[in-house]
Symmetry: C2
Subunit: 664 residues, 2 copies
């Protein structure tokens, strides 16, 4: 089979999610966690092939980003004290809206509920109007959500209601809790089974809470992202980098999200592996020195304007053009978008099922200034798998303000500059007698005023001869006249520029990416649809080689041992299958495991040391010495050679019993 | 310097923990987590070199155990529901004893408190008797604990009290909470600062608790070990392994322990990386097919008898002798002990600071049948870094019993055997009419009776003509006569043997191992004690090569770029340091980072392409072509060659300014 033939074969049989899941569970890629105990929704374990696949994806991520760009990897704790996440905004804003059915105790996620009920009604309307399902091309986005509403009733709606419902659905990700509550009242949305009314939506914080230490006093959470640990270590990282910017830190680890009602298998889980980069850069210079290397990468974009116009038709252009036209804000953001796409393709993502969608203003995380999602198309619709956000100076600023520690870059200026600034001087010896034990608090308050606050207080002092203000932890108003304090604008020559860096954050949900790759790589052989294949790129395949002695005749064992030794020396992961079953069955099993190469040892091998190499997708075979075959495997797996390049010089091989063997 | 000279140099300057910590924090190997917010005790972050070192240790672990022995790696969730840990025994038994000072609110760990107070009194006694500190060789074990007791008072104790205190201290790890309470009363042990009495010891469960899902009803914990996830997946793993035993699963991931009062830096933390193996085997055959490969490995053992005799003098013998003499129970346990030692040595553990200590009967975990700890000697004393426990069939049995799911191996017998067993038959059609909705529960109860229970019920039925019993979830007694049920012994021919496998569990605390390696690899150059070195084995060193252009002259840049390219192609992690500071300073910085090799590019390099290779410990230098130098680096780093083997064929090189350069 040629490359074109394989492409054709891979799409000949329609994708069927149940078949995929049956292979993934049957081969223990993953399984529901604790299913011996009935399972816990949203928690999954990876079995041996899933775990190896995940390790290879992480390894490739580390090479592609951390090593290639010399990023500073850190490993921070998951347990995080309350104060940190209060400051970052997660305690107040990291939540979904839930409504409870007070009679049954059921809990619904409000936005999903409204969406599902309105969609079901629109479907019922179509049925009533006699529009058959087949005529209606359903948006792939909507396929993922179908659970709460069990029955579609054929009820015709008036035209303006249909229009309203469609408008609501288009904006569903942007409603606040109270707005969702109003929609539920207006459209009479209750428990979809009983029809009973529900409680109004309440915010439910999605962080898992716990107590640190024996006193139970120190409240903590499991981190919702790895980012905060990186921000908190900013000063140490900057120092480690010899105080130079831009630089990036990176972190790979588990994060947690207490989903209201997890579903969609591996796509929406409560504990998941993330890989995050925080690229710290000068807010006044977001260029990237290596942008030219990626500028011709062509991608599908779904910018804000296109979505606002109600379209899902992507714009295809190069990242160079996208940055040039300001559709993507700056070079560094663009550089990472391109590098993300390269990474995804290297691990098996289907290029035609990848797009970059800009966040709508109302759906962005509380910290983001701009955000593009790398989305992958699956049978659940387009899934957000990578976020690429510009978090501006948000995090460093809030942590610095809260802890009163500077989190800034100091840059020596080539030429000194004149700077006019508000400054404050305190006559400290007067503070003790007047404010007693509160004196340090009052001083700290004044020394931490921002430029804007100083300007305002400076005016007040000039106009009134005194200032009045409140201080955290000090009762009542604090009042002082100009004997205590001087506030004025001064012009100075500065040799150093101090700034809070901005942050560009590419953030990867490894589990979602892995599941999407499973879907993109899965197909069934057209000649026998029961034979499934997972066409992982060799680089990330769980195991690279299946070593199969033709039979379990004892004369073959020494050759098997010899080749095992060679593979181990070359550090190529492999498995031996010397079970009694037919070669065809053994290969079929490994096609399901995504093993890209088979090496067959037969009686010829004993005589001349030659073995057969089989390629998983095409089932093509070549023959050569063990050393040459292993060299080919290494070239294709680790050095990016194609099958043709890797095996040139090896003789094509046609087994006499090829057909029988493969379909046995 | 020869290998002998390096050995001498490495021990010339006495180890000083503060110097080590200053290097580790200064170079950001690790830092207290959240220290911007004042820190949380027991939580640490790894910075770039610590993170890279950890990744390399984990990588070596994976190769040494998982790949070498074809183990089945799984990745299970940390969130674990209550039921699972209730069954495993952790809810009831995974706790320490704490006492609270009701006045100050302070909380003490009871065993540590008793130990510290008695030790302080013994010290005071020695002072009173005029025995100076220098005369008293303090047991290294005790050095780690010194915190609560601030002042040593010179008070003489009577001889029998000294004897009693010493006896208590020898058994300190074995006391129950009530016993500790009695000791506190008997010896008048209270708050060591105020002297006030404390509350009696209470059990404090060390698991972090949380609630899963929005209802708050599903109680869960963060796992205290990775083992449970492996046990719960036993059936799937067995199937994946084609139903063959023995086999091993393995898991690498974070676990959690809510320590009462964490201390000793990285050694006692609340969140830590573990690597655990569960080797499932036939309880009647604990031999190991590869035992002969390790039988001559010589180790230091501290068996139970030696400890009971009050000695800490290890017995040195081969693992073969240890198993032969039954000191170590069986081949598989012995095989893993030897493999553990090989792993530890490969990552930089000092052989003279490693021993294997058998657990005393009263200190074993609740599930263990036998346990040997791999202990490493540090400035905190001997530290348990690896546990190697025989968990018998404990876990599989309790989970099977609780969930009523079989967790067994079925083995085809070569020859069928006659087996006599109690069997039960139900006349099911009578159950419905009599027990109505309870019928299924009653049936399930009867069908799940053990052999012992059946024997007893069989006797009851025979003697009384009826049986009476209780059923979970059914009110009152259940009674039935022999029309409903037959219970009798029958002899049958069986072709399959069914057994619950035993489990040998090597369990690694990666953080503790890493800290111990830091200590074992740390030394100061005798000629300049301010110059510290971390002599990591190249295999696990965070970065392998420092690439240093002699100056930042622009002509050197192309050679630097060229060699960078070669190193990247060979996948050898390296750093370029083209900062302006002297070569000596640049090397000194990297000695602290443990970088084993330096490659210097000078003006000669531009002419003939030759570069200099420097070895960290000896500061020896050789010169050759870039290709030859990189080959030497690869051989030494990844293929286990010594410096002499790796660099033979390269010319020795003596820089004219060697002395100045290195000490500049």
């Amino acid at each position: 089979m040629s490359v074109e033939d394989i492409k054709k074969a891979r799409t000949a049989v329609e994708f069927n999610r149940e078949n995929l899941e049956s292979v993934l569970r049957g081969r223990f890629f993953y399984a529901p966690a604790f299913d011996l105990y009935g399972g816990v929704s949203g928690l999954y374990d990876y079995g041996p092939p899933g775990c190896a696949f995940q390790a290879n994806v992480v390894d490739q991520w580390r090479k592609h980003f951390i090593l290639e760009e010399d990023m500073l990897e850190v490993d921070c704790t998951m347990l995080t004290p309350y104060e940190v996440l209060k400051t970052s905004g997660h305690v107040d804003k990291f939540s979904d809206w839930m409504c409870r059915d007070l009679k049954t105790g059921e809990i619904f996620r409000a936005d999903h509920l409204v969406e599902e009920v309105l969609e079901a009604r629109l479907k019922g309307d179509k049925a009533a109007r006699g529009i058959s399902e087949a005529d209606v091309e359903e948006d792939a986005d909507k396929k993922k959500r179908k659970k709460k509403v069990k029955q579609i009733k054929a009820v015709k709606l008036s035209d303006h209601v249909v229009k309203e419902y469609n408008e609501v659905l288009a904006k569903i990700d942007g409603y606040s809790g109270p707005e969702l509550g109003e929609l539920m009242v207006k459209y009479n949305i209750g428990n979809p089974v009983t029809g009973e009314a529900l409680e109004a939506p309440k915010a439910f914080n999605l962080m898992f809470e716990t107590a640190i230490g024996p006193s139970g006093q120190l409240k903590g959470y499991l981190r919702p992202e790895t980012a905060q640990g990186q921000f908190l270590n900013f000063n140490k990282l900057l120092e480690f980098n010899n105080s130079k910017t831009p630089f990036a830190s990176a972190s790979i680890g588990k994060s947690f999200r207490n989903e209201i009602s997890p579903r969609a298998g591996l796509l929406r889980v409560r504990e998941f592996l993330m890989a995050e980069i925080e690229h710290f850069l000068d807010p006044e210079d977001k260029s990237h020195p290596r942008f030219h290397e990626v500028k011709d990468v062509k991608l599908s974009f779904l910018p804000r304007e296109v979505q606002e116009a109600g379209s899902t038709e992507p714009i295809v252009k190069t990242i160079g053009e996208a940055v040039e036209s300001k559709m993507v804000d700056n070079e560094t953001l663009g550089y990472f978008i391109a590098r993300i796409s390269q990474f995804l393709l290297s691990i098996g993502v289907d290029e035609t099922k990848m797009r970059f969608r800009q966040h709508m203003a109302n759906e962005m995380a509380h910290y983001a200034a701009d955000c593009w999602d790398g989305e992958l198309l699956t049978s659940y619709g387009w899934i957000e798998c990578v976020g690429c956000a510009d978090r501006s100076a948000y995090d460093l600023t809030v942590h610095s303000k809260k802890t009163k520690q500077k989190l800034v870059v100091r840059q020596k200026l080539d030429e000194p500059v004149e700077v006019t600034k508000w400054e404050i001087d305190l006559t400290k010896k007067l503070f003790g007698p007047k404010f007693r034990k509160d004196a340090p608090k009052v001083e700290a308050h004044l020394l931490n005023l921002s430029q804007e606050e100083l300007a305002s207080k400076g005016e007040e002092l000039k106009n009134n001869g005194k200032i009045v203000f409140k201080v955290d932890g000090v009762e009542g108003d604090v009042e002082m006249d100009d004997k205590f304090v001087t506030i004025e604008q001064r012009t100075k020559t500065e040799h150093v520029r101090e700034f809070t860096p901005n942050v560009i954050e590419p953030s990867f949900g490894i589990g979602r990416i892995i599941y999407s790759v499973f879907e993109h790589c899965f197909w069934s052989r057209p000649e026998d649809t029961a034979r499934a294949v997972l066409s992982f790129p060799p680089l990330v395949a769980p195991s690279k080689v299946l070593l199969v002695p033709l039979s379990n005749h004892k004369d073959l064992a020494p050759v098997t041992a010899e080749i095992s030794k060679l593979l181990r020396r070359e550090k190529i992961p492999f498995k031996v299958d010397d079970s009694g079953v037919s070669i065809g069955k053994r290969y079929a099993r490994n096609d399901e495991l995504g093993t890209p190469f088979g090496v067959t040892i037969d009686f010829e091998s004993i005589k001349d040391g030659s073995v057969t190499l089989r390629e998983r997708d095409s089932t093509k075979q070549v023959r050569g010495s063990a050393a040459d075959i292993i060299k080919a495997i290494r070239e294709i797996t680790y050095n990016g050679a194609s099958w043709e390049e890797g095996t040139k010089g090896l003789a094509p091989f046609v087994s006499q019993s090829e057909t029988e063997t493969e379909t046995e």
